[in-house]
Amino acid sequence: MKKKLLAVLMSAVMVVSLTACGGSAPAASGDAAPAADSGDAAPAADSGSSGDLIKVGIINNDPNESGYRTANDKDLKEMFTKENGYDASFAYSLKNDEQITAAQKFITDGVDYLLLSAADTAGWDTVLKDAQDAGIRVILFDRTIDAPDSLYEASIVSDMAKEGQTAVDWLAGQNLPEYNVIHIQGVMGSAAQQGRSGALDTKVAAESNWNIVTQQTAEWNAEKAQQIVQSVIDAGTPFNVIYAENDDMAKGAVAALDKANISHGVGKDVVVMGFDCNKWALEELLNKNWNYDGQCNPFQASYIDEIIKTIESGGTVSQKTIIMDEKGFDASSITQEDVDKYGI
């Protein structure tokens, strides 16, 4: 009996400490901490503009998932504040069913807008219909879903294929005599992997002086990328380009190069390319250790804000699918300003 009690206590402590983790993370990173998911009955804020706050329910993936998601979450939290006229509640999960449950809760709570970055593309029809019936407007961000577009107002997404194309065009512009590429892919089948791989595959198939030395998935994992590149180095196969589909994997690849004393960066033996524009990655560009970093824009909040403002003022959204501007940075032209502005 005593033991059982203790076990319960211990697990309780565990849970409390977990909640503490979740809670303190955004607070410490200096946010304007909105009342997370307690939501309702927000006291009259000082903004005082149109009197009522717009109630939004935001369903996102876990901010711990990646630097991208962290930046995305931070951006949303900075936008949807009481000062800006919003009463926002957040729900996080990497699992579709939990996200759907959260959506149902938001519908019951009677939010005005439901903002959704879906974990999975399927299974959203019913819940979005419920939202529509309740007069709640849905805006998708970052990820699309398999549902009729009548169910949502707009979808703000990145065009991964375009990101890939921009990068490959940049690489082609380097005019290397020969392209021997180590292609490190993300988790196979993910939108980012498909988009970023597609452009390169097409180019390699088309050009005779473009070769793939190895094409391997490192599943977004730096350690795996390091081993993949290590293996190519051990085999002694020559290569001069590393095309890594995110910054972490590029970092792993570079660690292997450093170990083997293979120079990389601007004007060096190996061209290093990454994606996502992590701040530290852009700094590598600034130091000319890497050559290129493609942006995957996590800052959808301003787009969403604009759409909501349009709808609130009685206008209509002209485009269902809004593709965000995304840049590609070249080490020879990047500035400290770029790093500060676009680094995530």
């Binding site: 711990n64 391997q216 730096a222 081993q227």
Partner: protein
């Protein structure tokens, strides 16, 4: 009379070469080595080069195996003890490495996530990580030893929560260490051409071997794992020994965590040391140790760890998609499970016996 018995024992030993524990990892190693030798002998080429700081380094697939297999070998030490004592496995080591790594970076970075200089000596950071990892090990150990929760279930808690805890330790920021002295632990010591992780692993192995020789760790752990009730009546405290094994695994986790974060001078909480727990458990199994606990052979486990890295490196060499690696490892697991059944062993020793007389007649 005495000479007769001697002959008998020798005979028994000869027939049981296949029953010897270390046979499994050695056979697997030879098989892989042979495969590579036939497929591409350049696999064994080792070259001496110079790295970016101008120090000599050895490179080649074999060096890669020694290098990357090290974390696994270190973990295999702790996992073997946990397996032997508790008859179960700790599946939270990957998450615990994330925690240990995060702690190291946190101490080294202080408040700034990208410091110009180290804010604390590396040894201090490492020691703090050891304490933290051992505390988490103690948490697992307490659940297993004192609350009698199945090890896999008990460690599931940390398996689930560990990476979030790791992220929380660094306020979810991404610390990066630019000081080159930190990269030594996952790279090379200036002037020494063999990767540091291998040295660290060997130090751990030597310490473990000394501990097994100069303490009763081995005897007690095995006794508790084989027969808890009987151990208790021999004056042992089975709960404490199980608890201790988890704490020692925590220490191994801290060492592996140091190497892991040093390799990239950074950390990614969600993927660092991902799935390493499965490899560590596989190393123990490949060492011919029963996953049900009891008798163990430490060197066989360590060898098992390097065999797994040998397999991984071989697969990378032949450009097998890395997300297919688990499938290949699954094949190894199946082969192992079959090989360790008494039926298969009997079969093998029969073959062994048939081979023996042939040899003798040749001689």
């Amino acid at each position: 009379m005495s000479s007769e018995t001697k002959i008998q024992t020798r005979k028994v030993k000869g027939g049981s070469i296949f029953r010897n524990q270390i046979f499994i990892p050695v056979a697997a190693l030879l098989l892989l080595a042979l495969f590579n030798l036939i497929a591409d002998p350049s696999f064994y080429k080792i070259t001496l080069g110079y790295n970016s700081t101008g120090d000599p380094v050895l490179s080649g697939y074999l060096m890669t195996i020694l290098d990357y297999g090290s974390e696994l070998a270190i973990l295999a030490i702790g996992m073997t003890l946990v397996t032997a004592a508790s008859g179960g496995q700790d599946i939270s080591v990957g998450a615990a490495i994330a925690i240990a790594g995060s702690v190291i970076l946190r101490v080294l970075c202080g408040h700034d996530s990208r410091p110009e200089t180290l804010q604390a000596p590396i040894i201090v950071a490492f020691l703090v990580a050891c304490v933290v990892a051992m505390l988490f090990g103690a948490f697992n150990g307490a659940l297993v030893a004192y609350f009698k929760i199945q090890p896999m279930v008990a460690t599931l808690i940390l398996f689930t929560a560990g990476r979030s805890i790791a992220a929380w330790i660094n306020n979810n920021e991404l610390p990066i260490i630019s000081d080159p002295s930190f990269a030594i632990y996952g790279g090379f010591i200036p002037g020494i051409p063999i990767p540091t992780p291998f040295f660290i692993a060997m130090i751990c192995v030597v310490i473990t071997m000394l501990a097994l020789k100069f303490t009763n760790l081995g005897l007690y752990t095995q006794a508790v794992g084989i027969n808890e009730s009987s151990s208790k009546l021999n004056g042992l405290n089975p709960a404490f020994i199980k608890f201790l094994s988890f704490v020692l695994l925590g220490l191994c986790v801290a060492v592996a965590g140091l190497i892991k974060v040093s390799r990239l001078s950074s950390i990614n909480y969600s993927v660092i040391a991902k799935d390493i727990e499965m490899d560590a458990i596989l190393a123990v199994a490949l060492g011919g140790n029963s996953l049900g606990g009891g008798k163990f052979n430490m060197l066989a486990s360590i060898l098992g760890a390097y065999v797994i890295q040998f397999l991984t490196t071989t697969l990378y060499k032949f450009n097998v998609q890395s997300d297919a690696l688990p499938a290949y490892k699954a094949v190894v697991v199946i082969a192992l499970v079959v090989m360790s059944t008494p039926k298969a062993r009997e079969f093998m020793s029969k073959i062994g016996k048939k081979l023996k007389p042939a040899e003798r007649s040749v001689a």
